[in-house]
């Protein structure tokens, strides 16, 4: 019986993980004016305070801010642009990658 439960768990675990990944979304934003750590920290802090943000990556070379959301379409493009404007910068482009998991 214990073996049976273990087998069931082993089968269901990856499935539940996949289901969670299905609901996640990676949003990559290219930001104009992103030239320094101070600029990046401003954007980082305004996204970091949101509960639906799992992880943030900033690449100053490519000017791309990558935000991993726990839910798909947690923020509209307009809302994302407003947050970046609150930090003092401008969004040049937004690319969405639904289901993109986080590199653990």
């Amino acid at each position: 019986m214990i073996r049976f439960i273990l087998v069931i768990c082993l089968v269901l675990l990856p499935l539940s993980h996949a289901a969670a990944a299905e609901t996640e979304e990676l949003v990559e934003m290219r930001i104009n004016g992103l030239v320094c750590d101070f600029c990046a920290r401003s954007i980082f802090k305004l996204f970091e305070e949101r509960e639906d943000v799992q992880k943030l990556d900033i690449n100053l070379s490519t000017k791309i801010v990558s935000v991993h959301f726990t839910e798909r379409d947690a923020l509209s493009d307009t809302e994302i642009r407003e947050i970046v404007q609150d930090a003092g910068y401008e969004v040049a482009s937004i690319e969405r990658k639904p289901g993109a998991g986080i590199d653990k």
Partner: protein, 214 residues
């Protein structure tokens, strides 16, 4: 007294002032900035309700003239040019308050204070340049004009989270001062929310500035 206050207001509206653009942060951000150089020590405590302006306290002690300036200060980001690989800013800085001095014939004298100025800067990840000027009106205690320019180069390009380093040269012009023109080579380091600058002027005066944002 009333005429002094009016003069301070007029001066503030007409004259531009020095820059440190740094007090303007992201919406809801706060900044503490402290500066020390051959002329003055200063402390700035600022809050930014939006990314377009900050307001707070600015205190300065001018060493040679031995007077204090206490002011409610405002920094307005008039224009930011967010380009794909660079950024430029135009700031208006102004403040109102009081000047206090007991130097020489001044005996704990208090005068109304007004100052104003403009600052402009441009930077990409390799180069930096800025120019700022400020006019100060403090009745009989001080009426002065100051301007400053900087150029800088980053010896290496750091990524987010790295310690960023800048080699800079600052030129200051203080008409009427003992040291009218001053050149100061300095190093700037920053990482995350912390910025630190240190240098020594041609007159062997130490420059030491730091900024924290939270």
């Amino acid at each position: 007294m009333r005429s002094h206050i009016l003069a301070a207001l007029c001066f503030t509206l007409m004259l531009p002032a020095v820059v440190e653009a740094r007090p303007v942060s992201y919406a809801g951000g706060s900044t503490v900035m402290q500066k020390n150089n051959g002329h003055f020590y200063s402390l700035h405590l600022h809050y930014s309700p939006t990314a377009w302006y900050s307001t707070g306290y600015r205190g300065e002690f001018w060493r040679d003239e031995e007077f204090w300036l206490h002011s409610a200060a405002v920094n307005n980001l008039l224009k930011r040019w967010n380009n794909p690989n660079s950024q430029a800013n135009l700031y208006l800085r102004w403040g109102l308050g009081v000047a206090v001095s007991d130097f020489g014939h001044f005996d704990d004298e208090v005068e109304p204070l007004g100052y104003s100025g403009l600052a402009i800067d441009w930077e990409d990840r390799r180069f930096f340049t800025s120019y700022a000027f400020r006019g100060i009106y403090a009745g009989e205690i001080d009426r002065s004009f100051h301007q400053r320019a900087r150029v800088g180069v980053a010896p290496y390009i750091g990524e987010y989270g790295d310690i960023h380093t800048w080699i800079m040269l600052q030129a200051e012009h203080h008409p009427g001062s003992d040291t009218t023109f001053e050149l100061t080579p300095l190093l700037r380091f920053f990482r995350g929310d912390l910025l630190f600058e240190a240098g020594i002027s041609g007159d062997k005066e130490v420059l030491f500035n730091w900024v924290i944002r939270f």
